[in-house]
Symmetry: C2
Subunit: 269 residues, 2 copies
């Protein structure tokens, strides 16, 4: 497969890059992660992992986690079970998903993944493996991902040596890594992908948080920034020859495939 | 096609009913509506239209419209443009979507559709046509759907006579119709479809609005009702031989098809 991908790449004139912004707290990001990993060679894309912090995106965009609405949270459990079977990803919600997602959080885990990314000089095979192990723990085997011992176990399972894990754990607590996670999260929030049209809207900026769309005089004109910006994960940026499109969620793969020229007439788009 | 559907129905041993709860304020409901209308004969289903009031569902479930988050609202515009092409539904956001969706609202329009449903004795061909005309006005040709003249125009385009439209307009303001719209909305909120597992959770009821999931003693047990209930539209209930499954949104058609036995091996599920 690797050989085929390289061969196809050298034959193809277009460079295709897909950036996946994710946090292991998000099960829908896990589905997108696995699907993109599978399609990496089939679509001949350069897949770039962008570990970020979902709580920061929620705060920065004025969004709130879907699971905060009880009926939605309840539906999601069933939806994930169905999608788990559909995509063939062994996803099983933790016994106390609310606690795992909203109380324990993933700040330590995502700093750990960020440290792995910083440490890894070439490619991102280790980021991929460590992320998968963390997703498995929280979203498959109902294990903790907040404690150093848990992160160590995930690192070892991903193929890192005990020494390297120790080094990464220490690195993950450093200011540069904390700043790096912040900056990637901010990158998602400020992604400059032009929208296809410009709305005239006003945004009310309060306490550094954009969260209210206000009427602007009697004409009710609204000003929106002319960019598509992040409000949740997975947030996927597809670039083909310098042209970029943004997709949210794990249910727009047909549209991505079409944009990247990998669609074989299964729809119009 | 009609004949084929009837013939197939009589040959088939399983009765398949699909209920679509919708409000014409929701563009994703329009996509689901058109896709289900197309697949009605292919899947051999009895499609039942359930006109309801989305604002009531949002209030009752403690949810808030996705468009209230500026970044999400902005992304949705692009997402809808893509899906419009993909599904072949001519969907084009109104020039002031915020005003059309959140300020003007669809209470009059949905009472009008409810009155059409009450007036229609057999089948729901008129409900289908009137709903489509209203969707076209708000989500395609950027026209009003709040005023009597607008509803009249939609009714006439749907094939109703001027006299019948007048009668329906009058009926739509009556208490029984107001109550009917409320009861269908409540039906969506209280749908009794068993979830595949029971979570023990507590729901905090404040001001008649469920919106906080609270911890219950130190064990962090949570009590959720054992039913999948509505939090937005489109809300789709598929019933096959007395067994029901609930789907939300316009991106789960493969899963619906599989559940109803219309899936030809395109995935695992």
């Amino acid at each position: 497969m690797r050989f085929w991908a390289r061969e196809k790449s050298s034959m193809s004139s277009s460079r295709k890059v897909v950036e996946l912004f994710y946090d292991v707290v998000s099960p829908y990001s896990w589905l997108a992660f696995e699907v993109l990993c599978r399609y990496r060679n089939v679509w001949n894309i350069e897949l770039k992992f962008k570990p970020a912090y979902l709580a920061g995106v929620m705060h920065g965009s004025g969004n709130r986690p879907p699971g905060m609405v009880p009926n939605k949270f309840h539906y999601m459990t069933t939806d994930l079970k169905r999608l788990s079977n559909y995509f063939g990803v062994h996803l099983s919600p933790p016994s106390n998903a609310f606690e795992a997602m909203f109380e324990k959080g993933t700040l330590n885990a995502m700093r750990f993944v960020t440290a792995v990314a910083e440490k890894e000089k070439e490619g991102d095979m280790l980021v991929e493996r460590v992320s998968r192990e963390l997703w498995k723990r929280i979203w498959s085997t109902d294990q903790d991902i907040t404690q150093p011992a848990s992160l160590t176990e995930a690192g070892l399972k991903a193929g890192l040596s005990a020494n390297v894990v120790k080094e990464i754990l220490s690195l993950s607590k450093s200011q540069p890594i904390k700043d790096k996670l912040k900056s990637v999260t901010q990158e998602a929030l400020e992604y400059k992908v032009s929208a296809f049209n410009l709305h005239l809207c006003t945004l009310c900026l309060a306490h550094q948080k954009i969260f209210v769309v206000e009427k602007y005089n009697k004409m009710s004109l609204h000003i929106f920034p002319p960019f598509l910006q992040c409000f949740g994960f997975p947030f996927i940026v597809c670039q083909v020859n310098g042209k970029a499109k943004v997709f949210f969620g794990s249910d727009r793969f047909e549209l991505m495939a079409y944009f990247m020229g990998n669609y074989n007439g299964l729809g119009i788009y």
